[in-house]
């Protein structure tokens, strides 16, 4: 009971915070999904938002209050709490809640009264009452669902069997949003799983040969193999590049011409001094280089299977007309 007072005060403080946050809400999805450690702190903040109605007490002992949202608190705080925990479009239900039967001012007053009541009453007796009433209420809310709700939520809510008609005015839970701890954790899990599967699908497109494989373990194997092979390739190429590095300084102007999209004056002027070396060969190598550079992504496919493929020139390359022109110009310069 001693704990209750400071926590109540804390809640009131947070109530004012949440009113400030009103502008941010419509675009936000669940804050509870700060699953990397956020739950416990979210716990302490969030539980206090939803306050029981007159005669309804916060059902569970304080530590467990984590996700025990009671939909019958003052309307706008409930709105904030629940809108934060849901991923449904908040606009319509928010309107619902705000136009709910409890005015906010009245709500806060009644909240104070309730808090006083709670401090006096024993928790246990009222706990069952309120839990049931709340859960019943959720069920009612669920039954009005037309929006998206997963079947799991429905299942969890239908666990509550006894239907006791509440005789106070409650603010409803948002559509499709159950607010007990199980369903919230469930929602979190679903969210994480969706993210993971989305990213796995993206990786499947990226990694060649992953289309046939289903299941996380096999795909992870493929991904690991692919990353290892790419790293090995880079290693091999860097060795090769180190071997031909002496030519780097010598060819530097040529290289700049190759790599720049449009030749600057400098790039065109500089090749003059070495043009008396095989210009035709240069031209050929330049075009070859162009081809390899502008070849589609499939080059690594061929090359990581067989390292000798490095010297292959992909014929299906796209040409850049201006660059080709430039190459011819270089050749003609001589």
């Amino acid at each position: 009971m001693n704990r209750a007072l400071p926590e109540m005060l804390q809640w009131q403080q947070q109530q004012s915070y949440f009113s400030e946050l009103s502008g941010v809400f419509p675009s936000q999805t669940s804050h509870l999904l700060a699953f990397d450690g956020g739950f416990m702190s979210g716990d302490s903040v969030v539980t206090r938002e939803v306050k029981p109605h007159i005669g309804l007490e916060t059902p569970s002992p304080w530590p467990e209050l984590g996700f025990e949202f009671e939909p019958c608190g003052p309307s706008y705080t409930v709105n904030y709490a629940i809108s934060r925990t849901s991923s449904c479009p908040p606009a319509v239900p928010a309107a619902e809640l705000v136009s709910g039967k409890m005015g906010s001012a009245v709500g806060s007053e009644s909240f104070k009264k309730r808090k006083a009541d709670k401090l006096q009453n024993s928790k246990a007796a009222v706990e069952d009452d309120s839990t049931k009433k709340i859960k019943v209420y959720e069920e009612e809310g669920e039954s009005k669902i037309t929006g998206p709700s997963t079947s799991k939520h429905k299942k969890e809510n239908s666990k509550v069997s006894d239907v006791r008609k509440p005789d106070y005015i409650h603010v409803r839970a948002r559509r499709g949003q159950a607010t007990d701890s199980h369903s919230l954790a469930e929602r979190v899990r679903i969210y994480i799983r969706e993210k993971i599967s989305e990213r796995m699908k993206y990786l499947q497109d990226l990694v060649p040969g992953c289309n046939k494989i289903t299941g996380k373990a096999g795909m992870l194997d493929e991904i690991i193999n692919y990353v290892q092979s790419l790293q090995r390739q880079v290693e091999f190429l860097s060795m090769k590049l180190a071997a031909v590095n002496p030519r780097l300084d010598f060819n530097i102007d040529n290289i700049f011409t190759k790599v720049e999209e449009f030749p600057s004056v400098q790039a065109v002027a500089n090749p003059i001094h070495y043009l008396h070396f095989n210009p035709v060969q240069e031209l050929v190598s330049e075009t070859a280089l162009r081809r390899t550079i502008s070849a589609p992504v499939t080059i690594p496919d061929g090359s990581f299977l067989d390292s000798s493929c490095f010297t292959q020139i992909q014929p299906s390359a796209t040409w850049d007309g201006v660059e080709l022109q430039n190459l011819y110009n270089i050749g003609r310069f001589h």
Binding site: V45, V207, L230, V234, V244, R247, D249, N251, S303
Partner: protein, 195 residues
């Protein structure tokens, strides 16, 4: 009401943090699901322009590193230079790029020693056969492969991996092209030619 409550401070402390964390998570969620962000991610390492930029920067960096030939092994030098230029090109948006860049700055020897020690200790502790789930083990392996991603959640690791794979592919393409050019068609240095 607020002023009369002595316990304001803890609440105040938690709330801004809470707000910050919530907002950052929401932003992250919004960003990841936003289609524009997705397309940007896809196109990021695939464009011609990126390749050109990378290749020119790589060549410049190679020239610079050749002049100051740092370590004995040239291949390792080249590899590190290539990785570093790739990481710079990522503009610090991904973890692996930041890890590559900071790893260069830290004393390499110190890092190697510390890493070796911790690894020995860990293997001594894990003598008994601990049945970690298969996926977890593979995640750890993948985390070791991608630089700077050892202790990452599943979804974040996957995101880093996809970006890393795309960047590596581009690196391979560019280095192939450069090597091809230098080895295959480049004119010989004057010493060889003046016969």
């Amino acid at each position: 009401m607020a002023s009369s409550i002595p316990n304001l401070e803890p609440a105040l402390d938690t709330c801004p943090e809470f707000k910050r964390r919530k907002r950052s998570l929401t932003d992250q969620m919004l960003a990841s699901s936003h289609p524009h962000q997705r397309n940007q991610r896809i196109k990021r390492w695939r464009t011609q322009r990126e390749q050109h930029i990378y290749s020119s920067k790589l060549i410049q960096a190679l020239r610079r590193s050749r002049r100051t030939s740092a370590s004995s092994s040239a291949a390792k030098d080249v590899h590190e230079t290539a990785d570093r230029v790739l990481a710079v090109l990522a503009k610090g948006t991904t973890r692996w790029s930041r890890a590559i860049l900071t790893a260069r700055k830290m004393a390499r020897h110190k890092k190697a020693k510390v890493a070796a020690n911790t690894r020995l200790r860990k293997s001594a502790l894990n003598r008994e056969k601990r049945k970690t789930p298969v996926v977890q083990r593979k995640l750890k392996v993948l985390g070791r492969l991608v630089p700077g991603c050892r202790k990452l959640s599943f979804s974040n690791l996957l995101e880093e991996t996809s970006d890393y794979i795309a960047a590596l592919e581009m690196q391979v393409r560019v280095m192939t092209a450069i090597t091809e050019f230098l080895a295959g068609g480049g004119p010989q240095p004057p010493a060889d030619d003046c016969v």
